[in-house]
């Protein structure tokens, strides 16, 4: 089997040229779809029989929480690829996605505690789910900090990848925390194996918001990666030619 495509994808040049025009359309589609899901969820979806309108915060809380974990999963895989293959693109991806994942984890924590006050009766409780998501947020902050702590970028890339890979162990803990232990937090809203425990007019806007936010975040990550590639490849010929020929 030929690995040429894999190595090409890892080359900053090919990645830059292939995805150059993707961020803006992806961003616009993401904003539009996300707004559609959020407005549908916040204004038109039915209220919950127990929680009334306070349940609607789910339309922000769940997409942010799912994406905080997805971003980490992608970052962990990139760390693994970098440690084994030394792919130049991996650390660029990691530093692009880390602040975005951190923001998602922070939004999940904040909306979760705003939701927790009226429904559970408390802002915060040290149960396994809440604590493991806080650890996820701290891992993101650790990765951002570690990346900036080194003068030599090659050392920084390696250190960040090791932390990124080690932190992967937190993901199954977050996911199964509500099944392995007694927690205040309820079980998973979405699951691949069974349909959600709510009617379609409630979960469909949630799914739309999730898809929209995914596109939105993907476009932000691509933009950040392009900026970093341009910074790192400032002196290379292909970039000069591309910019002179096709503009930015």
């Amino acid at each position: 089997m030929s690995w040429a495509w894999f190595h090409k994808l890892g080359s900053t040049k090919w990645f830059f040229l292939w995805f150059k025009n993707w961020p803006l359309p992806l961003f616009l589609v993401g904003v539009l779809v996300f707004l559609m899901g959020i407005i549908w969820g916040l204004a038109f979806a039915p209220e919950d029989y127990q929680q009334g309108n306070s349940f609607r915060i789910i339309y922000i809380h769940v997409p942010a929480a799912i994406l905080a974990q997805s971003c980490y999963l992608a970052m962990g895989i990139a760390s693994f690829v970098f440690l084994v293959w030394r792919m130049k693109l991996s650390p660029i991806f990691i530093s692009a996605v880390a602040p975005i994942g951190a923001l998602m984890a922070l939004i999940a924590l904040i909306t979760g505690s705003i939701w927790g006050k009226p429904t559970w009766g408390t802002w915060w409780v040290w149960d396994a789910r809440l604590t493991s998501v806080l650890v996820l947020f701290l891992l993101y902050m650790g990765i951002i900090g570690l990346h900036n702590a080194f003068e030599d970028k090659r050392v920084a890339d390696k250190a960040v990848s090791v932390l990124g890979l080690v932190g992967l162990v937190n993901l199954p803990i977050i996911k199964y925390s509500v099944e392995w232990w007694n927690t205040l937090h309820q079980g998973a809203t979405f699951s691949l194996t069974k349909s959600p425990e709510m009617p379609m007019e409630m979960w469909l806007p949630l799914l739309i918001a999730l898809l929209g936010l995914s596109c939105l975040l993907a476009s932000l990550v691509l933009w950040r990666m392009q900026t970093t590639i341009m910074k790192r490849e400032m002196k290379s010929n292909w970039l000069k030619q591309e910019v002179l020929k096709n503009g930015l």
Partner: protein, 144 residues
């Protein structure tokens, strides 16, 4: 695969294996401490420490809520469908507190085996539905 990459892969695999085992063992050892609350069975069977602040969780038994007319004192039973314990509490209960709802109470077990709570939190599950559907379900249940 290039021998250097193969070596790196092997090192990472070994580190991952050791780390997963270590964290798995830590979580296993801390199992009881990670659980947020003791179930009524744990408390009835004497697994929960006495005279220490602990949390107890379970379902509020239907028809067990006794309120005091003059104060905020309330007494109710919680169950895990095997054992049940009695909880007493003085204060404002969360909105979601009702019969058949899961709750978590923090407090101490007194000498009569009654759990004196200082804080009561309500639990909810991942099932959401519009009020009309919930009403329709209740109406269907009450029909013979």
């Amino acid at each position: 695969m290039h021998p250097i990459r193969k070596k790196r892969l092997l090192i990472i695999a070994i580190i991952a294996l050791i780390l997963t085992t270590a964290i798995g063992l830590i979580l296993f050892a801390l199992q009881q401490n990670i659980n947020l609350f003791y179930s009524p069975s744990d408390i009835s069977l004497g697994k929960a420490p006495k005279n220490a602040t602990i949390r107890a969780g379970g379902m509020v038994v239907e028809g067990s809520i006794k309120r005091n007319q003059e104060s905020l004192y309330v007494q109710f039973d919680v169950t895990d469908f095997q054992h049940k314990i009695t909880i007493e509490y003085k204060g404002i209960l969360p909105d979601l507190f009702r019969e058949g709802q899961g709750i978590v109470a923090q407090g101490k077990l007194n000498s009569q085996g009654v759990f004196a709570a200082e804080q009561v939190l309500a639990k909810h599950d991942e099932k959401y539905m519009p009020p009309e559907i919930s009403d329709a379900l209740k109406a269907a249940e009450s029909q013979p």
